[in-house]
């Protein structure tokens, strides 16, 4: 079975020092090795979804070719093997974010489902009329809409922490928004449209001083920085598999055991029960109480492979290299006078959002696309962020550990071409 510990000898560092051997890493990702419109693909849409290493692709094929069967059901050999692989993936996920117990890891479809799960279980039980839920101006729609739905049902109110011009949370405002009415704080760890890394440990400490639980949306965090949920002391933490080099359709909800044990079930069905009769149904223990129906077994196994892959490279090496890419890219694009970077927080993950004077991001995206460069153009599911900066959309280049400075050079050259074309 998988080992989630980092094997030092497997770390692929280049001879020059701390950095990763990117040339060798790129060979692990088959999708990177292709031409788009006759040009080598430059994939800079990693914040939307990351490419998958061959080990993840193989793990999924292997599962369906060998131990495919249902989990926690059969007493036959295949089912035992599948169950073991599935539960081992839970331990890998637990260790990845340093949760204290594997039963605190719930497998879900992704971050969106994780937040909806918390809203419709913990939220319904603990948040009522006149209560307040605190989010920030930089949330992804998936950390806004589930709470709005809850507010509609319960009569609670959504409060918003403003952000400054650099794209950082206004911490003084945050402090004054934490009141006796606040029943939950739900904040994005790393902003998908600005790149800002929010000071979650500090926020959790402030909220806990008033006994307010905190949910952290980690969809854009776990692939870039080391996350330790015990150190952070958050009550809930969520992430999606596909953004951390795993398959789509799988993700993790971490919740403290004390919450999970009190929370009502999310969905009813198989697996989440211990006994069912028409008179009374007893629910299963955690985490199974929250995993109704046959789960995405192959996806969960693929996710564990991806987490192990990231562990082997090491998140500290990944963070250092990606930070170098971001610094390089930011300095290069700044030389273009018509370009303005949106999101200039002191602490940033490798997300570079920008606008060009009088040129719409959609046109930028089309021209870059024909140069073989994949970026995202749009509001990135963060319309309140766009409103904050009074722009309709941005172009966003988001870097992963397999990107290179040569790719950034191609990006910069193409942006200059756009400026010339539309100038």
């Amino acid at each position: 079975m998988e080992k989630s510990t980092v094997i030092e000898s497997d770390r692929r560092e280049s001879k020059t020092g701390n950095m990763l051997d990117v040339e060798s890493i790129r060979k692990d990702f088959p999708a990177l090795n292709q031409d788009v419109y006759g040009k080598p693909l430059v994939y800079l849409d990693n914040a939307a979804t990351a490419q998958k290493p061959q080990v993840v692709i193989n793990a999924i094929t292997e599962f369906y070719s060998t131990i495919n069967s249902n989990v926690h059901r059969g007493i036959h050999y295949l089912s035992q093997q599948a169950t073991e692989a599935y539960e081992s993936a839970r331990v890998t996920s637990q260790k990845f974010i340093n949760a204290s117990e594997s039963s605190e890891i719930i497998f879900v479809k992704g971050t969106t489902e994780a937040i909806n799960l918390v809203a419709s279980t913990f939220g319904i039980e603990n948040i009522g009329k006149g209560d307040e839920i605190l989010v920030s101006n930089m949330e992804h729609h998936s950390n806004i809409v589930p709470w709005q739905l809850l507010c509609e049902k319960t009569g609670a109110k959504l409060k918003v922490i403003p952000i400054n011009d650099s794209g950082e949370l206004e911490m003084d405002e945050l402090k004054s928004l934490l009141t006796d009415k606040t029943k939950l704080v739900s904040i994005i760890h790393v902003s998908n449209s600005l790149g800002t890394i929010n000071p979650m440990k500090e926020i959790v400490t402030l909220a806990h001083e008033k006994n307010i639980p905190v949910l952290v949306d980690g969809a854009q965090a776990v692939q870039h920085i080391t996350v330790d949920v015990q150190d952070m002391d958050c009550d809930f933490y969520t992430f999606s598999g596909h953004k951390v080099y795993g398959p789509t359709g799988v993700g993790v909800l971490y919740a403290k055991k004390m919450h999970l044990e009190k929370m009502p079930p999310y969905q009813g069905g198989g697996e989440m029960i211990s006994t069912v009769s028409f008179e009374k149904t007893e629910y299963n223990t955690i985490p199974h109480k929250f995993e109704a129906g046959t789960p995405n077994i192959a996806g969960v196994i693929g996710l564990a492979k991806a987490l192990n892959y990231v562990n082997k490279l090491g998140l500290s090496a990944i963070s250092a290299y990606e930070s170098q890419l971001l610094t390089y890219a930011s300095a290069e694009v700044e030389k273009i006078p018509e370009l303005r970077i949106i999101g200039r927080a002191d602490r940033k993950a490798s997300v570079l959002s920008f606008v060009l004077e009088n040129i719409h991001p959609h046109d930028v995206g089309t021209v870059l696309d024909r140069e073989g460069i994949a970026v995202r153009s749009g509001h990135h599911c963060t319309q309140p962020v766009m409103d904050r900066y009074q722009i309709p959309a941005t172009s966003r280049a988001s870097f992963a550990f397999y990107n290179t400075e040569e790719e950034i050079d191609r990006l910069v050259k193409s942006i200059k071409r756009v400026v010339k074309l539309f100038g």
């Binding site: 040009k39 040129i359 719409h360 959609h362 046109d363 024909r370 074309l421």
Partner: protein, 152 residues
């Protein structure tokens, strides 16, 4: 591949993008509608003054990409003086031009032929049609915001 890009961004489109015609609100408008493309955030308002069945005057404003802005601008220049039926028919012909491969009739489409290149960029079809959907809604007095996600 650069040829396709040149086909998409023709000089006429750059020109209308930079200096859109009939841009801004219309004082005597008796019909108007809002259009929104939630995918890229394009927002457009179309204002029309009708004289019976005839489009007496038509303006637009809002924010959008070069394709949506040029399409809106050229649309306003072509629909002046047309009646409702002619406007609808021109929209249909325009839609066919940018979505279906066929020999188009340059005489009826006029300046719109510059959008023939959009056909090679399926993700941009909605940009080109947003103003037209909005115009249609304004004439019909639907009063609802048009979104590209309902109409395509």
């Amino acid at each position: 591949m650069m040829n396709q890009l040149d086909d998409l961004y023709q000089e006429v489109i750059f020109d209308h993008n930079k200096s859109p015609r009939n841009f801004g609100p219309l004082e005597n408008a008796d019909h108007e509608a809002k259009g929104f493309n939630p995918l890229c955030g394009d927002k457009i308002n179309v204002y029309i003054e009708m004289d019976g069945e005839i489009i007496k005057d038509i303006h637009f404003d809002g924010s959008g990409c070069a394709i949506s802005k040029a399409s809106a601008s050229i649309m306003t220049t072509l629909l002046l003086g047309k009646n409702k039926t002619e406007a609808r028919e021109l929209f249909e012909k325009f839609r066919t031009l940018i979505t279906v491969e066929h020999d188009y009739d340059e005489a009826t489409l006029g300046k719109l032929v510059v959008f023939a290149g959009v056909r090679e960029f399926p993700t941009r079809v909605k940009c080109a049609t947003l103003a037209w959907h909005t115009m249609q809604s304004a004439i019909n007095n639907d009063g609802e915001t048009v979104t590209t996600e309902k109409n395509e």
